[in-house]
Symmetry: C2
Subunit: 217 residues, 2 copies
């Protein structure tokens, strides 16, 4: 499987998780920053290899074979991210680009041994689940900070948007995975919330609270 094929599978997988139905050509093109015509070409190739189900104009979905391949790539990506943060002192906003490269390295032994070396981690540095060799993973049951009500609290366990800018925003305010967050007050007008974190009070906008996953305690 080529790098490009792997990248398409991964993108289709991520889009499927979001939408839970057939994925459109344009959605893939947009997420990959490429053209719809290129997507059509590649989809045909993947369908030929039984990695996706495809009927002209009807969007695309992963076959079981394609799903396992996609999960394997996600597994590799997230294990490498964990490695970079835990062993090589990368910060969580620096890992994505390098993991995008490392995820394509082909060696079953490598990924098996890396997993062992890291102690079989279950979440990557952004709180996303790391699939095991069979593609299975457990999703924490978590809610968005924006869905909590006044007085409720929980542990910060993941981010929805893991863009560099958002992650750096959190770093600047010392909001890290594992922090306890409590809702002090919600402003109905702009839906901003006043939260208590690290013994400090902080007001965050809806855009922020809608990107923070909380495990309620």
């Amino acid at each position: 499987m080529t790098f490009s094929e792997e990248n398409y599978l991964k993108t289709i997988f991520h889009l499927t998780v979001l939408s839970n139905s057939a994925v459109s050509t344009n959605a893939i093109a947009e997420m990959m920053e490429t053209k719809a015509s290129s997507v059509t070409d590649m989809i045909k190739k993947l369908a030929e290899k039984d990695l996706v189900n495809y009927k002209k104009y009807q969007g695309v979905s992963l076959t079981n074979k394609g799903k396992l391949a996609a999960k394997t790539i996600v597994r590799k990506h997230r294990l490498w991210e964990f490695f970079l943060v835990e062993k090589l002192d990368f910060s969580w906003d620096e890992v994505h680009e390098v993991a995008e490269q490392l995820e394509h390295i082909k060696s079953d032994k490598l990924i098996r041994e890396l997993d062992r070396f890291l102690g079989f981690p279950k979440q990557d540095p952004h709180g996303d689940p790391i699939p095991d060799a069979e593609g299975n993973f457990t999703v924490l049951n978590k809610v968005l900070l924006s869905d909590l009500k006044k007085g409720e609290s929980g542990i910060f366990v993941g981010v929805k948007d893991s863009s560099t800018t958002f992650l750096q925003f959190l770093d600047k305010r010392n909001i890290a995975l594992g922090s306890e967050i409590k809702i002090i007050e919600k402003e109905p007008f702009d839906q901003s919330v006043l939260i208590k974190i690290n013994e400090q009070e902080l007001r965050v906008s809806k855009l922020i609270s809608g990107n923070i996953y909380i495990k309620t305690t």
Copy 2:
């Protein structure tokens, strides 16, 4: 720089070390298991980028820029090999193929941090020197086992041929880097040598002794 360009540079580098003069198109083709015409095409591309000196029919050599690029790839290859053996329990005959992939990952921070994480190793698992970030490395002054005379001894510090079969041959006989080896006797007829290693005596052919590097003590 593409993977392919990097592989050509690396090959030219290795061939230059061996021959110490301009490298022929055919030599590159043979080492890379490709066709001379493909080599010519790529050489032109590398010359265009000022990575090699090239005059039609006269062979190629690396420019300073090309030499540094090549050493950087070798540095990455050997650091990853060290990582695989030291941290992921690979054996020295399993690392090459995976390192061939890992050497192409692009991230200065990655390789800098990996080097630090590994404790700035100076030799890879086969005893080959690991260049530093500037491309400098120290070559142990070592001799071939086949050049030692009766009664001389030293430490096994490297292999000349690091093919899987040769490395597995050594493993089978418990001949590992760091072992002390002493020449008990040399047979003039077939140039085989009787050596003492790990308290045992062992007869090895010229083909073997000619692939083992020794640091005399």
